[in-house]
């Protein structure tokens, strides 16, 4: 009975506001693209576009995992260090052939996620602390395994993952798109996806509805570890050499920004996969805009900070309407 009344009442301003709220990241992205089309020389070129997409691919990969952990009211700070671990392990096992090396690296990522997830789900440590341990220790461990040096990658199959193309589409982009589709499917269509948002939305209620709360928590951190390892492989392949001291450095901050700007609340209970992708594209586009226009990069950081604050503010307004 209240259907007609509320629909009519909230038609104009409120509808527009909430529409923008839900899709603010798309609006911001479109605005920035238009700005670049006018201002940045050679912006509308295939080269600019592919460079942007290649650079953003590892960020998208880790952001997907971070989005899942944030969806459960958690967080994964260790993604950058897991990338470093991946980078360190990759050349060590290439002697056994690329499938073995890739498999080992993915296992390392899954193991890292298993450690994080166990600390969160079974020991009951707060996610920010549990994953902070690996953020701090993981990179050191990676450097120890790598013997403190950067090893070149020569295996063509692995190099292809970073530098190759399929029908003109760069391989990192293909990897990222596949990952987006898989994670998107998990979130939208599976019981696991429902468990993630239910655990994040109200853990007690989820538990009392018979959901496997601990297994869900464990799973999101394992997936996040796997995706970070995959991002580490792509980044290493693109570089053509392992570089555990620099690969994935501070990427957790970009990932969290992408997730939050994309509309996934830090308080959990919702996961926006497309929003996360757009969030990652937006922050990459901001730094590209500054670099290609010869503006000081420091200002890009300030602008990103501003966008984070706006995103959080907009989310805070949710529910009061």
């Amino acid at each position: 009975m209240a259907r007609g009344a509320t629909a009519e009442k909230s038609f104009d301003v409120a509808t527009v506001t909430s529409w923008v709220r839900g899709r603010g990241v798309y609006v911001a992205f479109v605005v920035l693209v238009i700005f670049n089309l006018i201002v940045t020389p050679n912006f509308a070129s295939v080269v600019t576009l592919t460079t942007l997409l290649i650079t953003v691919s590892p960020i998208i990969l880790v952001s997907l995992g971070v989005a899942l952990t944030i969806g459960t009211e958690g967080i994964d700070l260790s993604v950058g260090s897991v990338m470093a671990l991946a980078s360190a392990f990759l050349p060590l096992y290439l002697g056994y052939g690329w499938p073995v090396a890739v498999l080992v690296v993915l296992l390392v990522g899954a193991l890292a996620g298993l450690v994080n997830g166990s600390l969160v789900a079974f020991v009951g440590i707060q996610p920010i602390i549990a994953t902070l341990a690996l953020l701090v220790g993981g990179r050191g461990l990676a450097q120890i395994f790598a013997g403190g040096q950067s090893l070149p990658i020569t295996d063509p199959a692995v190099l292809w993952l970073g530098q190759g193309r399929l029908f003109g589409v760069p391989a990192p982009v293909i990897v990222a798109v596949v990952a987006v589709l898989v994670v998107g499917f998990l979130v939208k269509r599976t019981t696991f996806g429902r468990y993630v948002v239910a655990v994040g939305g109200n853990r007690s209620a989820s538990y009392l509805s018979g959901h496997p709360v601990r297994r869900t928590l464990l799973a999101v951190y394992v997936i996040s570890g796997l995706l970070a390892a995959l991002a580490g492989i792509v980044a290493t392949a693109r570089l053509g050499a392992s570089d555990p001291s620099n690969i994935g450095l501070l990427i957790e901050l970009s990932a969290i920004t992408a997730v939050v700007v994309g509309g996934t609340p830090l308080s959990g209970g919702r996961v926006k996969i497309m929003g996360t992708v757009m969030g990652a594209l937006l922050i990459q586009l901001i730094s590209n805009t500054f670099i290609s226009n010869d503006l000081p990069f420091t200002w890009a950081q300030v602008l990103t900070a501003g966008i984070i604050l706006v995103a959080v503010y907009v989310q805070k307004g949710r529910g009061t309407t």
């Binding site: 629909a7 019981t191 429902r194 209620a205 009392l208 509805s209 018979g210 209970g269």
Partner: protein, 530 residues
């Protein structure tokens, strides 16, 4: 006791919250050297009154007088400095600091140069503890002590500030019997020193053991005040629940109908559920088509029993059978699989998942059966949701609407739908009509009736007497975490129930006779079979 000037006086205090009149012209006085029981059911206004006294809230109307002078505290700290100490249910001390540091927190004795005089602090803390017969190493970190001793430290801290009034909010809820004795020793000491004590508790035995006078609050008003010894337990409960003893209730105030035909064999059998210190050997049967009411005052262990059966809380011992088969304890998933459904008391924190849609909330428990190979079948889900939104009359703009936007009654129906779509064999309802409007209330009561007619076994928990007496085919009464009696069919009257809550389970016949007399009814109560 001589009538003395009250140490604390509350005069016609009114406190409103949006939509609620929490305190409605309350007057209350605490005399020096008395232990004054403050009792009332949920929402009666006890905690609001305490918060008004301690300065957490400001009264909208009325005055508060302390030691004969009008006071207006703007925060708890001020009331504490003036001499009103409060000991909360949850211990609010600092676990990592030592006992002595906790006792003197914020007012440590200073030595030269304004530094803390640690020796003097430890010495004085030890003296205070000793004076009240509390044994503890004052230099040990607080968290190394048992909960009981921690509570004593909280008391020591409260009284060492030279408090003239001490408020204790359910101080014994986490204490062992021996620790309760120590606490009572401290309270008696306080009484001798002329300190006024406000004692909040739901445990009748404790009230009668330690308290001199009592004030009963109900719906924000004072329902009764006077000497506790002059009041029988039954009278006390009648005041709390708002019932006249000789009042003959007319049937039909609720949406419940007649009794149901229950099958002979129980579908659910809970045996000796024990959970220290809240539940003691609770045994309970439910037959198909039967509504079993769980009655008891606040803190009697009703919700705890429900949660233990559903596996939401772990139990120390006990077993559960569904249709003769053992069910794993401590796992909601196992209970759900066995055909048990549970509507928790706290809809917001344990029921709804606020940001998810009505649809997702309804389908929450049914997800495993709506999915094949881990994929949710949208079609099966939509059909199910459609069916139950219609049959329960859930009013939402669409199945996609976030459930937080719905009214309380509709949220409750969403949760009922979540469970009914599972085709449960036993449905546990913990306060199913709390906080929802009258219309939805009657609808839900009628629904419970219909479900029982269709052969569902129901466990019904409600603080409202008429809901329990009219809705149940059998009533199991709980007190202090144990079953104290059972009523069936014709025996289920509010009078009998109150008598059982007051005296059931007491040893000796005196209490029972007493109860029957007061009630004007026969002692037609059955003891539960072991």
């Amino acid at each position: 006791m001589e009538r003395q000037a009250p140490v604390l006086e509350v005069r016609r205090v009114t406190k409103r919250f949006p939509g609620v009149l929490a305190l409605d012209g309350i007057s209350f006085e605490l005399r020096p050297g008395e232990v004054h029981a403050l009792v009332g059911e949920n929402g009666a206004g006890k905690s609001t009154l305490i918060k008004v006294i301690t300065g957490v809230y400001h009264p909208d109307e009325g005055q508060i007088l302390f030691k004969g002078e009008e006071v207006s505290f703007s925060e708890p700290r001020e009331s504490q400095e003036a001499g009103i100490s409060t000991i909360y249910q949850e211990i609010n001390l600092i676990p990592l600091l030592s006992v002595a540091q906790n006792v003197f927190l914020g007012r440590e004795p200073r030595g030269r140069l304004g530094l803390i005089d640690r020796d003097r602090m430890n010495r004085e803390a030890a003296e205070i503890l000793e004076r009240y017969g509390i044994r503890a190493d004052v230099t040990a970190p607080l968290r190394s002590l048992s909960l009981g001793v921690q509570q004593m430290v909280a008391v020591a801290r409260a009284i060492s500030v030279d408090a003239r009034a001490v408020i204790m909010d359910e101080p014994t809820s986490s204490l062992e019997a021996r620790e309760v004795e120590t606490l009572f020793g401290v309270i008696r000491q306080l009484r001798e020193e002329g300190v006024g004590v406000i004692y909040v508790s739901h445990r009748l035995e404790e009230l009668y053991e330690i308290c001199d006078r009592v004030t009963v609050l109900r719906d924000g008003r004072v329902a009764h005040t006077g000497e506790l010894a002059e009041l029988s337990r039954l009278q006390l409960i009648a005041h709390m629940l708002g019932r006249e003893l000789d009042e003959v209730r007319k049937e039909g105030a609720t949406g419940f109908g007649e009794e149901h035909e229950a099958a002979e064999e129980p579908i659910l059998q809970a045996q000796d559920l024990t959970q220290h210190p809240r539940l003691r050997e609770i045994s309970l049967d439910v037959r198909p088509g039967e509504v079993v009411g769980l009655a008891g005052l606040l803190g009697a262990g009703r919700s705890e029993t429900a949660k233990a059966i559903f596996g939401a809380d772990p139990v120390d011992s006990g077993s559960l059978k569904m249709g003769g088969e053992d069910v794993k304890m401590g796992s909601p998933a196992a209970a759900i699989k066995a055909g048990i459904a549970f509507l928790p008391e706290d809809r917001k924190s344990e029921g709804i998942i606020p940001d998810l849609s009505v649809k997702e909330n309804i389908a929450a428990a049914a997800l495993p059966r709506l999915a094949r190979a881990g994929m949710v079948s949208e079609k099966a889900q939509d059909e199910l949701v459609e069916e139950f939104m219609q049959s329960l009359g859930i009013k939402a703009s669409s199945p996609e609407q976030p459930v937080r936007e719905l009214s309380g009654g509709n949220q409750q129906k969403v949760l009922l739908a979540r469970w009914l779509c599972m085709n449960p064999k036993v449905l546990i309802l913990d306060e199913p009509t709390r906080g929802i409007d009258v219309g939805a209330k009657a609808e839900i009561q009628k629904l419970v009736d219909d479900l029982a007619v269709k052969g569902l076994g129901v466990i019904l928990i409600s603080s409202e007497l008429d809901e329990v007496t009219e809705g149940s085919d059998r009533v199991v009464a709980l007190r202090d975490g144990a079953v104290v009696g059972m009523l069936s069919e014709e025996e289920i009257t509010e009078g009998n129930l109150m008598a059982m809550l007051a005296h059931g389970g007491d040893s000796g016949n005196g209490a029972q006779d007493n109860g029957a007399q007061e009630n004007g009814a026969q002692g037609n109560r059955k003891d539960t079979d072991g």
